[in-house]
Amino acid sequence: MFLDYFFYLKEILPVSITEFMTLLEALDKGLIKNTVDFYYISRSILCKNEHHFDIYDIAFVNYFKDAGLDFPEDIKQEIWEWLQTNESIFRMPGALKEFFQNMSPEELERQFRKLMREQDGEHNFGNLWIGTQGQSKFGHSGLNIEGFRIAGDYGMQNAMRIAQKRIFKDYRKDLVIDTRRIKVALKRLRKLDEIGKKNELDLPKTIHETGRNGGDIELIFNKKKKNNIKILLLMDVGGTMDIYIHQANLLFSAANNVSHWKDFKYYYFHNCIYNYLYENAARNTDEAIEFEDFLKKYDDSYRVIIVGDQTMHRSELVTPHGAIYDDASNKKPGLYYINEIAKHFKKNVIWLNPEPVRDDWMTWTKMKIAQIIPTFHLTIGGIENAMDYLRTGGKNHYTTVDILKDVPLALF
């Protein structure tokens, strides 16, 4: 059976039993006649994302390399039965061995598995740097076989060679970030309000009224219901946030693409919010809104999502002119602005922190901010909780504000 191949793939790609059964069905029905068929059809059935094709290619080569070197008897029998037309696959290891002679197979295997694990783990969060760096690392380790040439006696119709071309390599670089789950989480924030003209037929009421009317039709119209949620996204950029930039981008692109919001505005800040909020990540003062104007422009009907790691020096929060960059020149301490936001937006503001939000021990600045603004961890679960909080106006939510309420925090 091909169970080994399945489990091998399962470690590095999200393949399911359903899909494996489908592949067996294809084999059973005789749809796969040779290794080339096997390569394409198994890819179509097991691999549902073109971004995974490259990983599949590597896995395919790697597995059948192993399979050729050390092939358990029962698998061999299976393979022979339906791979009859293409035996060159079993001659491949020689060429590969030659190619990898500078590296022990164990080392290669280890590198490969490590990369795949990272790639997959990061892909759930879709981290871009793995896509490129991981690949180059792997290239360095010797499996980047772009220029790999095989002795001429292998026919063109060879699945290994197709896989080895790795034509889908580029698709990995621009890994489309998996924003789907974030979008689903964000969609929890929904508040349907009636808007516009009365032009939607209310069927139950129409029937009821028609009945009361002795059968004369009485049409009852309603206003259309539309999501009336307005969102403000404030994002910390630069410095310690650099390592979380991808997570922040994921959230931003998801929020930006959730089209059902009535309004979506975003601003940037660095470390703490001071007297300016910036319209782009470069934080130019000429494209910024002053804090007072910001509060005037957006009333408390907006839901505010602040993203930041709350990591900074204490003085950035508590001393006037504490901002570590000149443009801010804040006359008031950072905490003033945080408090103002909390006061202005009341229960409609939350903070998402890419670092774990703990209730036992956190750094001083994290605790201080989380005491004022309910803070959630920037994970799918955290976003879900945060959206529930915003939807219900904080009802029945026990947040960091409650947890840290009585924790005494000395200024210095």
Partner: protein, 283 residues
């Protein structure tokens, strides 16, 4: 070997549909038909995802039912619609064609319902599934899995008389849910190689001179190599462009000097600027 296997030939040439599928795609189409699984097709815009369904229907001599997905489409729209307002109206004013007491007269099938109801097997194209709400594909799981749906007004199950051949296209605007993907066979339409592209062009313009085609393809692939462009020209644009060139009666010498009618190939103003810049100072 299953006798019904290998039905889709992959090269179609009729008045309205000219289509050439590479061997892998042809193979996958036949596998998905044999397995009775929906085929999910993705690929760059303009690589003939929608045309594929037309080609399959023509090649197999089956009726094609198209379900165009829009942002407001819901799963139930594809199954059936119960026209209560019409019924209410008929109950008051009467109607000769319909019987008010018979609820069936007020239920019309959507594309999915029509496909299930057909005596003969049909090809069902669910076009641009990613346009709909992100929950939409999940609402279709049951329908596509067991090929049946429930009409709650009549308490009836509508079961497919013959399992339709389902082709689903996506432009990658939204990620599709895993549960949905598990049930599909997936194919990514690769962008055609130069040689294969020449075959496609010859299929559409059989009288095209070889050196002219060669020059067209050179220009085309040179443009596609400009990675800065936001939207690269695709097969459909190339075919349109060649059509325009032939109509204009351009000579090979003129074509060698530059790229006329650039606007047919490139649709974005910014991209045209980039392209002109690159063509002037090729690196």
């Amino acid at each position: 070997m299953d006798a019904t296997f290998n039905k889709f030939r992959g090269d179609i040439k009729t008045e309205t549909v000219k289509y050439l599928a590479d061997p892998q795609l042809r193979n996958i189409v036949n596998v998905s038909i044999a397995l009775g699984r929906p085929l999910l097709v993705k690929g760059e815009p303009g690589t003939g995802k929608t045309m594929l369904a037309h080609a399959i229907a023509l090649s197999l001599g089956k009726r094609l039912i198209i379900w165009n997905i829009k942002s407001t489409t819901e799963a139930i729209d594809g199954c059936y619609m119960y026209d209560t307002v019409q019924r209410l109206n008929d109950s008051r004013f009467g109607c000769e064609d319909r019987d008010v007491d018979n609820i069936h007269d007020y239920i019309t099938f959507g594309p999915l319902g029509e496909a299930f109801d057909s005596e003969e097997q049909v090809v069902l194209l669910i076009d641009e599934i990613d346009k709909a709400d992100i929950e939409f594909p999940n609402d279709l799981l049951q329908e596509l899995d067991v090929m049946e749906f429930y009409i709650k007004e009549t308490k009836e199950f509508i079961k497919a008389k013959t399992r339709p051949i389902v082709v689903i296209t996506s432009n990658n605007e939204k990620e599709l849910p895993d549960a949905f993907l598990r049930r599909c066979v997936f194919h990514w339409i690769e962008f055609p190689s130069k040689a294969f592209m020449a075959d496609i062009c010859n299929l559409h313009y059989p009288n095209l001179k070889e050196n002219l085609l060669e020059q067209c393809l050179n220009h085309f692939y040179a443009l596609r190599a400009i990675t800065k462009m936001r939207k690269l020209p695709s097969t459909s644009e190339l075919l349109d462009w060649i059509g325009v060139l032939l109509k204009s009666g351009i000579t090979i010498e003129e074509l060698k000097r530059g790229v006329p009618f650039l606007g047919v190939l490139i649709k974005k103003e910014k991209d045209i600027e980039i392209a002109i810049e690159k063509l002037k100072f090729p690196t």
